[in-house]
């Protein structure tokens, strides 16, 4: 069973008097434990695609099957539940609650899932330890480096053991060294059996995945396996020179 199936997904926006097709008849399928990178230049529709994948937005037409269940006509509350339990978001700008410590940030999805306090704290601790931040549990985001913040965000994404991890330019606000560290974390998560969907416009980031879907003008241009993915991580410089 595929976790995600898109059948002819279209998303229209009205901008003034014009109609913009952010996504135009996109069809794809993503299975368990895949590591997919979605690439494309600005305006290619990759943000829109990610929002629909993440159940933050609903398509104008087409069918979205999540674990073979029709998502496209679900209510707001049902979508919220799916986001809570089945999807783990990692954002470019980290998006942590600034006034809460790491532990509270990571346990947030568990609160919305109705898990009682003691159990949640245990699960959140485990998630933080698994990303190597067991000693930063009570730090607030402004007391953490960029890389550490992103790792908290990854721990938060993992804590409900979701069906997919959805990462939107996760290294965009990080320097190249830290970015590499984060990509290592993602590789590790993938190795542990998670399904990862990465949205990026950087070639060398996309290279970490084992499948690359390229978007242009709201349509899929290419969808192919990535032969480089199990090599050692590439640096930006190496990617540029193609070695």
């Amino acid at each position: 069973m595929n976790i995600i199936t898109f059948e002819n997904i279209t998303r229209l926006y009205e901008v003034g008097a014009e109609e913009v097709r952010a996504l135009d008849g996109v069809s794809l399928a993503i299975g368990k434990n895949e590591y997919v990178a979605i690439m494309g230049p600005s305006g290619s529709g990759k943000s829109t695609l990610m929002n629909i994948l993440g159940c933050l937005d609903t398509p104008s037409s087409g069918t979205y099957l999540f674990k073979n269940i029709q998502v496209s006509d679900m209510s707001d509350n049902q979508l919220a539940e799916i986001r809570n339990r089945e999807i783990g978001f990692v954002f470019q700008t980290f998006n942590l609650l600034p006034r809460s410590d790491s532990l509270h940030n990571v346990e947030l999805p568990l609160i919305y899932a109705g898990i009682p306090s003691a159990k949640r704290k245990e699960m959140a601790m485990n998630a933080l330890v698994s990303v190597g931040l067991g000693d930063r549990v009570h730090h607030k985001p402004n007391e953490l480096s960029g890389g550490q913040r992103q790792r908290v965000a990854i721990a938060r994404a993992l804590v409900t053991q979701p069906a997919i991890i959805l990462a939107d330019e996760p290294t965009g606000n990080l320097d190249s060294k830290t970015g590499e560290d984060i990509m290592t974390v993602f590789s590790e998560i993938h190795r542990q059996g998670n399904t990862i969907i990465l949205v990026t416009h950087e070639e060398y980031i996309a290279e970490h995945a084992n499948r690359i879907i390229r978007l242009r003008d709201g349509k899929i241009e290419k969808d192919e396996k990535n032969s480089h993915s199990h090599h050692a991580p590439l640096t930006k410089a190496a990617a540029m020179t193609g070695s």
Binding site: D76, A80, R85, F89, L96, R99, G114
Partner: protein, 410 residues
């Protein structure tokens, strides 16, 4: 149901965090509610105090007493109609007394204004009440010394008197007045009893503390003759019996005065209840205005809360987007922000209440007041309601936000 409690609890915990994070702003916001609740609570307490003071003040008239008099206490009738009524006489009284079965006690009364004097000290315009020995049965008099005059003394129109507390304080100071002679318009009366302080300031000259009580025979003999109308005080057996006692009194008095069936009453039956009603009508309007004005201050506080909640929601757009992305439902966001507004208002309400309790102890020096339990519950309920109502629109705005747009907000 469990789920809702859980969400509510977590919502309250979230809001506590938010309030703590912005202590200065929360303090300022809640100030409006503090003032609002404080004034409403104080106003309610002051109103109760005024009511109680009035009740205490007229209590000397007796809640179970009727006063049968030529003059009504309140009337819409023309004054000259009343003036032309025949006086009430001792014969009327004796006839009524023989006919009436319902009263617990009754006595005729006759009032004069005299100068009372003792040992060089005097008080002008003292109210002197002439009555029978039964008069004391129509009152709740406590005696500091001695007793009321007896039937024998009253029937014999002996020159005996009972004096009120203030008279003793002013004329006798530390001397024991009992068995001393007080001069009432130059006539000497032997004091047989002294009343404890009754404290009915509202009755003015009718305050028992300022009165001298003598046998009605003496009043007639020395001061009034038979030109004045008497008044009859009647005590019912209990507050529940006042109405029927009044009805009987009307019937018997009509008979005593020989009124035919088609003639109107040429006397009036007055009750403390009439006083209360008159009071309520007059003061009632003032109370409403007072509450309205303090209510306005609460309204201002509520508007302040609403304003700040809007700002808070706008500020936390990104945060709302994050929460929604993580899986918060609309109602979760709604209850989080409602809880925040309600909590700020509750905290403000509690502070306002504390202030009101403190200030009411100050008012207590002038009025018999104390914060009642129902005022406290009212204040708490109003606080929470204010929070929920003023926080609703901002909270709903937050709940309705589109997560995609919210996440993009700078």
């Amino acid at each position: 149901m469990n789920r809702y409690w859980f969400e509510l609890k977590e919502g309250v915990l979230f809001s506590l965090k938010a309030i703590k994070a912005n202590k200065a702003r929360s303090m300022l916001t809640t100030l409006g509610i503090v003032i609002g609740i404080c004034s409403v609570a104080l106003m309610a307490t002051a109103i109760k105090g005024i009511d109680r003071a009035f009740e205490q003040g007229i209590s000397a008239l007796g809640a179970d007493n009727l006063w049968i008099d030529k003059w009504p206490w309140f009337t819409d009738e023309e004054w000259w109609k009343i003036r032309n009524r025949r006086n009430l006489t001792m014969e009327n009284y004796e006839k009524y007394k023989s006919l009436a079965k319902k009263p617990l006690a009754m006595a005729p009364t006759l009032w004069s204004s005299c100068k009372v004097q003792y040992n060089g000290h005097y008080i002008e315009d003292t109210l002197v009440t002439g009555s029978t020995a039964d008069y004391v049965k129509t009152t709740n008099f406590d005696f500091a010394r001695g007793r009321f005059f007896s039937e024998i003394e009253a029937d014999g129109s002996r020159d005996v008197a009972v004096v009120g507390n203030d008279i003793v304080e002013n004329l006798f100071k530390h001397i024991n007045p009992v068995d001393q002679y007080i001069e009432v318009d130059r006539i000497k009366f032997k004091i047989v009893g002294v009343l404890k302080k009754q404290g009915s300031n509202l009755l003015g000259d009718f305050n028992p503390d300022k009165q001298v009580y003598i046998p009605i025979g003496a009043s007639i003999k020395y001061y009034t003759g038979h030109r004045r109308s008497i008044a009859i005080v009647v005590r019912a057996r209990g507050t529940a019996q006042v109405k029927e006692t009044a009805e009987e009194a009307e019937e018997m008095m009509r008979r005593a005065r020989g009124l035919k069936y088609n003639q109107e009453n040429d006397f009036s039956i007055n009750q403390q209840e009439g006083l209360m009603r008159n009071y309520n009508q007059t003061v009632g309007v003032i109370k409403l205005v007072g509450l309205f004005i303090t209510g306005l201050s609460l309204l201002v506080g509520a508007i302040g809360i609403m304003n700040i909640m809007f700002v808070s929601v706008k500020e936390r757009t990104r945060e709302i987007g994050i929460r929604k992305a993580i899986g918060a439902k609309k109602r979760t966001i709604l209850s989080q922000f409602l809880a925040e507004a309600a909590l700020i208002c509750l905290i403000g309400g509690m502070i306002g209440l504390m202030l009101a309790i403190g200030l009411s102890m100050l008012i207590n020096k002038f009025l018999p007041t104390s914060i009642q339990m129902d005022t406290v519950f009212l204040a708490i309920t109003i606080s929470i309601l204010t929070g929920i109502i003023s926080g609703f629109v901002p909270a709903y705005t937050a709940a309705k936000m589109d997560p995609v747009d919210a996440l993009r907000y700078e």
